[in-house]
């Protein structure tokens, strides 16, 4: 499977910055972007307009913002962790809030990591590098779709 990252982020500027950070970090992994919770669910479940798995492959890693229109990040996560096939998909929450309510709730829902979006761009670059190293390079990926 080709490595893909699914970025679930509603703020277009943040999207630009994150993509920029990936470029700065010289990470060439393709990034798929959806901008709301429903779209995320649709993508992951392979529904229209994301049913073409060639154009929209199942990602290795989901970068999930919590504050999303239509369906919140927490809801998406809940949904995901209930999916028989893809429930083990690694999810990293990338959000602005460090509030404990978010943090603990999301961990309870089964997130793999929780990172706070920094204001300083350079810090963002560092995070992206780390994400790459950790989740894509060194991490042992789970098997999806099996018991």
């Amino acid at each position: 499977m080709q490595e893909t990252i699914l970025l679930v982020e509603d703020n277009p500027r943040d999207v630009i910055l994150i993509q920029r950070a990936f470029r700065r970090a010289e990470i060439t992994v393709p990034i798929q972007v959806v901008t709301d919770g429903d779209a995320a669910v649709a993508y992951l479940s392979g529904q229209e307009p994301y049913n073409n798995r060639v154009d929209h492959p199942l990602p290795e890693l989901v970068l999930l913002d919590l504050k999303l229109p239509r369906r919140s990040g927490a809801e998406v996560l809940t949904w995901l962790r209930q999916q028989p096939v893809i429930k083990r998909l690694p999810v990293v929450v990338l959000t602005a809030s460090r509030e404990y309510a978010d943090l603990n709730q999301v961990y309870d829902l089964g997130v793999n990591a929780y990172m706070v979006k920094p204001v300083a761009f350079d810090d963002l670059v560092e995070i992206v590098k780390t994400l790459n190293l950790h989740w894509l390079i060194f991490n042992e990926k789970p098997q999806l779709g099996s018991a």
């Binding site: 703020n11 500027r13 943040d14 630009i16 910055l17 920029r20 919590l66 504050k67 959000t95 602005a96 809030s97 460090r98 509030e99 404990y100 309510a101 978010d102 979006k117 920094p118 204001v119 300083a120 761009f121 350079d122 963002l124």
Partner: protein, 616 residues
């Protein structure tokens, strides 16, 4: 026997003795006197006898003289004697008239004297007539002498008798005297003894009287005191005391308070004892009467009832009765009646209040619930606010910073130095604002978080804080000396970590560029905390100090710096949000401790926090 009778007897006896004594003495005296008289009488007789003899001798001497001298001068005594002798014999006769023997003798004497005198006369006559020799012859016949001797003998006889009598009488006299003295002494002594006895008895009597008097006095005092007490009791106490007869209820005594409480005079009551019950409210009268009859003797009479005063006012009375028993029979009922009108009114009020209390409690509870709900809502709003701040305020900042940097990086060739500088400012500001938001959120979270103190190892937290500093590149060339081992304190770990991070970060930050920063961290025993809400008094604390050799803080600023947004320097001099120390103060406060600083300008600062020691 009663003392007084004894005394009387004694006195009587003494009197009797005295009387007897008097009589006896009198008689003795008389006796004595008689005796003495007779004695002197006897002496007289004796004297007279001698005189008689003497006279006879004188006569004889005269005769002899004349015979011898023939001088008629010598016949003078003889002549005198002749005259005298009869007198003397008569006197003798008189003196011994009581003694028949002596009388007889005197007769004999008288004859003898007559004979003698006759003889003398004869001789004298002889002389005159026949001359001296014839006379002398007559004398020589010794007839004269014989007669004289006879006379002498008779007189001696008489004298002897009289002497005997004298002795006798003297003896009698003496013994009479002795007797008199004896009886006199005896009677007197006995009399005195009796007197003494009587005196003693009188004393005893007096003593007894005195004692009785004292006893009476005491009793009197007791009674007076009792009476006084009783009077004081009944005249001042406002409750009505009463004593009544057990069967019919006649009031025997009622205290003055009756007049105040019932509003009627006691006199009226004493004239008509029914006026007590007539004052009772008609609705209560029967019940009270019944209760009295049933319970008074048992001692369980306790009734509350209303009475009417003459002026029409109604008073509530609580009336109780207590039986007085004498030998198993109830002879009196004593009782007390209190005016409980005020108490009744209070009770009614209380009942009323109680009824409304329920209502008011309900209302208050509802109010409290509403208020609580409001607070809850506010808290929730605050939470939501914070949440939203976390997310939404940051997003534009990210954009600002990110794109400013992007501009700087991608379009640097098209920007002049000024332009680059401006972009720099934009970036800095965004970052600054981010710090501000972070710190504000942290501060706000401190106020709202639930605090659960746990034992936290200071060593570990300090190490972690230092690690974080190093990670943020803040502890570059700093020498940080930590005096291990540090103790364990009661804290909430994340808050403690934040506090320490802030303190250490400050210590490292506020140094003059010339000096290499030296930071020391140590712990010691802190001031015990006074009793404050939630903390037990005099709890032991641990004081953790972070000292630096930095710029120091002037005394007038040492309090300000702990407030939110207070900074002593511009942003370009020393970076910071002005919230760091406020977080320290608030955080430590919420963990039950205190914070402060000791510092002097140019001498460095020693920031300290006091946290609760673990209890074991």
């Amino acid at each position: 026997m009663k003392l007084s009778r004894l005394i009387n007897l004694g006195l009587g006896a003494t009197l009797t003795f005295l009387v007897i004594n008097a009589i006896v003495s009198y008689r003795n005296m008389v006796q004595l006197y008689e005796n003495e008289r007779w004695v002197s009488h006897t002496h007289q007789v004796l004297a007279e006898l001698k005189e008689t003899l003497s006279t006879l001798k004188d006569a004889e001497t005269g005769q002899r003289g004349y015979l011898l001298t023939n001088n008629a001068l010598y016949l003078e005594p003889y002549e005198a004697a002749l005259t005298r002798i009869n007198q003397q014999v008569n006197t003798l006769r008189q003196l011994t008239s009581d003694n028949p023997r002596q009388q007889q003798r005197i007769q004999t004497l008288d004859r003898s004297i007559t004979t003698k005198l006759a003889d003398l006369q004869r001789t004298i006559s002889l002389k005159r007539t026949q001359g001296a020799d014839a006379a002398l012859q007559a004398v020589k016949t010794t007839r004269g002498k014989q007669i004289m001797d006879d006379l002498r003998r008779q007189v001696a006889e008489m004298e002897a008798e009289e002497n005997q009598l004298l002795q006798q009488r003297s003896r009698v006299s003496r013994s009479s005297l002795g007797f008199t003295l004896l009886t006199f002494t005896l009677a007197n002594v006995t009399g005195l003894l009796f007197l003494g006895l009587v005196y003693h008895l009188i004393q005893r009597n007096n003593l007894q009287r005195q004692r009785e008097s004292e006893k009476q006095q005491q009793l009197l005092i007791q009674v007076t005191t009792s009476e006084e007490l009783f009077r004081q009791l009944t005249e001042t106490i406002q409750e009505v005391f009463w004593i009544s007869e057990p069967t019919m209820g006649d009031v025997l005594y009622v205290s003055p308070a009756y007049e105040t409480v019932w509003g009627r005079s006691r006199e009226e009551l004493s004239q008509n004892f029914l006026s007590w019950s007539q004052a009772i409210h008609p609705d209560d009268r029967e019940r009270v009467g019944q209760a009295y009859l049933e319970n008074a003797l048992k001692g369980t009479y306790d009734e509350e009832y209303r009475i009417y005063r003459p002026d029409g006012t109604v008073r509530w009375i609580r009336d109780r009765g207590f039986p007085v028993q004498k030998e198993g029979v109830v002879v009196r009922i004593t009782g007390i009646a209190e005016d409980i009108t005020d108490r009744k009114a209070s009770e009614a009020e209380i009942r009323q209040l109680n009824q409304t209390l329920e209502q008011r409690v309900k209302e208050r509870t509802a109010q409290l619930l509403a208020a609580n709900q409001q607070l809850q809502d506010v808290n929730d709003e605050l939470g939501a606010f914070t949440y939203s701040v976390s997310h939404d305020l940051r997003a534009p900042l990210r954009t600002m910073q990110g794109f400013a940097q992007a501009l700087l990086e991608d379009y640097s060739d098209r920007l002049d130095d000024a332009g680059k500088e401006y972009m720099g400012y934009v970036i800095e500001s965004a970052v600054q604002m981010d710090s501000l938001i972070t710190d504000l959120l942290a501060y706000s979270r401190l106020s709202r978080t639930q605090i659960e103190l746990q034992p936290v190892d200071l060593n570990e937290v300090v190490t972690e804080a230092l690690r974080q500093l190093k990670a943020q590149n803040q502890a570059g060339h700093v020498e940080i000396r930590v005096e291990t081992p540090l103790p364990i304190v009661m804290a909430q770990r994340p808050i403690l970590l934040q506090v320490l991070t802030n303190l250490l970060s400050n210590a490292v930050k506020f140094v003059p560029p010339s000096k290499p920063p030296i930071v020391q961290v140590w712990a010691e025993v802190g001031e015990p905390l006074p009793a404050t809400q939630g903390a037990t008094p005099n709890v032991a604390t641990v004081r953790l100090s972070v000292s630096d050799n930095g710029i120091g803080i002037a005394p007038e600023h040492q309090d300000r710096i702990f407030r939110v947004f207070e900074r002593l320097h511009g942003i370009e001099v020393y970076p910071g949000t002005g919230v760091g120390l406020a977080i320290v103060r608030k955080g430590v406060e919420r963990m039950g401790g205190r914070s402060g600083v000791k510092s002097q300008v140019g001498q460095g600062s020693q920031f300290w926090i006091e946290l609760l020691k673990t209890t074991n």
